[in-house]
């Protein structure tokens, strides 16, 4: 955690801040989702409360908090009430391992802009987010309702199936960068596109050294699998309003429902962040390295602390820009594509994405072995 009380305090505050950032982003995302969906479907969306309907968030929050705390008669109380709380944990824990900017250096202290740095960040994130299936199962079983149980079984089958493709698509990336550490991956993607093959160094003028140029297939599979993992359209078989009312959260209302919502958006944020880190250079800026930014900042001020703060802020902005872009793609896809049928979903997961991801892994390993 740190060597003295100052460092420990800052690190603790940092953990809370990251959690709050994640939770506070949800109302904004809900607003963007509702306005965006209205825009896509040629409607108005929420536009009465406050400017552009922005205060709708506050109205929603009040509504959620003041609703009656309701549980079905036959519900299994401990599971029913625990499920929404557990829904928050996997996404939050995993999101804390995301590096969002270059470390901040204040005097002799170095603060990473990330909850905690782990050498096996990817394995940790996959492990923690795989626990999300329990929340769904607990909610489905605890509600003692047919619709909930059907939705929960569907959802967990889907999450397990797509986890395989998700994990396998990352293996290619791990082989490419030779590390499990997310920060090292981001550092490896800085500068222009350069790689060594058969003793020659091939370099490009305009393309950045991003993972997507080495692993395009893995990027596509990974992105599709994150949609399935966060249970969003076109993979929202878990809900399927026309068939099973609302799936595993049929019986939930008010704030408990909101917590499931936060969990879903948390997975969306996690997916976007991982997508950026694996394939789009993390917090890096295309065409500019961290050293360049630091030099530019040195031209503005003399203080080492201020230079570090500026560098961190610039890279944080770069990360956020990519982050917001990917979140918008999540929303965009949700309101554009129709839902899969269940057999199509399983076919896509097991017969298409899994073999392609396996093939990609083998091909990557072969190529790396041959050219090095």
């Amino acid at each position: 955690m740190g060597h003295d009380s100052f460092e420990i305090t800052i690190n603790c505050i940092k953990l809370v801040l990251i959690f709050l950032m994640m939770v506070q982003a949800v109302p904004i995302l809900v607003w963007v989702e509702r306005r965006g969906s209205a825009f896509i479907q040629n409607r108005f969306g929420p536009n009465r409360v406050g400017p552009l309907g922005l205060l709708q968030l506050l109205a929603d929050a009040v509504k959620f908090l003041t609703k009656e705390d309701f549980a079905p008669d036959r519900a299994i109380r401990p599971l029913f009430y625990a499920a929404p709380v557990f829904a928050l944990i996997p996404a939050t824990l995993a999101f804390a391992a995301i590096p969002m900017s270059v470390p901040l250096e204040i005097g002799e202290y170095v603060f990473k802009i990330q909850g905690y740095d782990m050498n096996v960040g990817i394995v940790f994130i996959l492990g923690v987010s795989s626990l999300a299936a329990y929340t769904i199962l607990m909610a489905g079983w605890g509600s003692a309702s047919k619709f909930s149980l059907l939705g929960a079984l569907r959802a967990s089958a889907q999450v397990i199936s797509y986890e395989l493709a998700l994990g396998l698509s990352i293996v290619g990336v791990i082989l490419l960068f030779g590390t499990f550490n997310l920060t090292e991956m981001v550092i490896a993607q800085q500068g222009p596109l350069t790689f060594r093959a058969f003793g020659h160094t091939i370099s490009s003028q305009f393309l950045p050294n991003w993972g997507i140029f080495y692993q395009p297939l893995a990027a596509v599979i990974f992105f599709a699998a994150t949609f399935a993992e966060s249970n969003r359209l076109p993979f929202d078989l878990a809900e399927g309003e026309a068939e099973i009312v609302a799936g595993f959260h049929t019986e939930y209302g008010g704030f408990k429902m909101l917590m499931f919502f936060i969990g879903e958006y948390g997975h969306m944020m996690l997916g976007s962040a991982l997508m950026i880190i694996f394939f789009f250079g993390g917090y890096g800026i295309p065409g500019v390295t961290v050293a360049d930014v630091r030099q530019w900042a040195a031209g503005i001020t003399d203080s080492a602390t201020q230079i570090s703060v500026i560098t961190t802020l610039v890279h944080f902005l770069s990360f956020m820009l990519k982050f917001v872009l990917f979140l918008w793609i999540f929303i965009w896809v949700r309101w554009t594509l129709p839902r899969f049928r269940y057999d199509q979903l399983m076919d896509l997961g097991w017969k298409t994405m899994l073999p392609w991801a396996l093939g990609n892994t083998i091909l990557t390993a072969l190529v790396i072995y041959l050219i090095s």
Binding site: V123, Y134, S156, I160, F180
Partner: protein, 190 residues
């Protein structure tokens, strides 16, 4: 009590508690959920030992995949008769008591044997020991990537036979399960 010791006892109690819950719950769904909790606890213990890779794999494989399947399959079945079978009957009650007795015997034995070596030495020169352990921890944490590589190399060279044999065993189990299930008419059995 250093944070490490506190964490160990907390996690140990959690693991033993949820392990006991696996045995003592009459509803199979609760038992399976408790077993998942045990797996998560063991993963946390691995993290305190700085074995991050093993911890992650434990989470992904056992807690994330195997136990989710267990829970899912149990939820698919009609478990009323199972619940009844586990709640009534002197034999199952006696079995539970024996299992709990054996487990607590193991724990007590472990603690008594542990006190002679581990805890005894720790209390003798605790500060020096902790400092030494911390510096070793730092070293190991720095080499976590190397440790993962070592693990992979050992698994695929030295222990390749055991690794492949386990793979064959698992395949045999899968084939055997399917064969057994089909021999009684499979899912369409009356």
């Amino acid at each position: 009590m250093t944070p490490d010791v506190f964490l160990f006892w907390f996690l140990a109690l959690l693991i033993v508690g949820s392990g006991l819950a696996v045995l003592l719950f009459t509803n199979p769904v609760y038992s399976a959920l408790s077993l998942a909790m045990t797996m998560v606890g063991v993963a946390a213990i691995f993290i305190t030992l700085n074995a991050y890779f093993i911890a992650g794999v434990q989470l992904i494989v056992y807690a994330g995949a195997v136990m989710v399947l267990f829970v899912m399959v149990i939820m698919l079945f009609d478990i009323k008769s199972e619940v009844q079978a586990f709640t009534s009957g002197k034999i199952s009650g006696a079995m539970k008591l024996i299992a709990v007795g054996l487990l607590s015997g193991l724990i007590v034995g472990g603690i008594i044997m542990g006190q002679k070596s581990f805890v005894g030495e720790l209390s003798k020169d605790a500060a020096a020991q902790v400092a030494e352990a911390n510096s070793a921890k730092m070293k190991r944490a720095a080499g976590a990537d190397a440790a993962t590589k070592e693990l992979g190399v050992a698994l695929f060279t030295k222990h390749i036979f055991g690794f492949e044999a386990l793979g064959v065993l698992l395949t045999a189990i899968a084939v055997g399960t399917v064969a057994l299930a089909r021999s009684r008419g499979g899912t369409h059995a009356k």
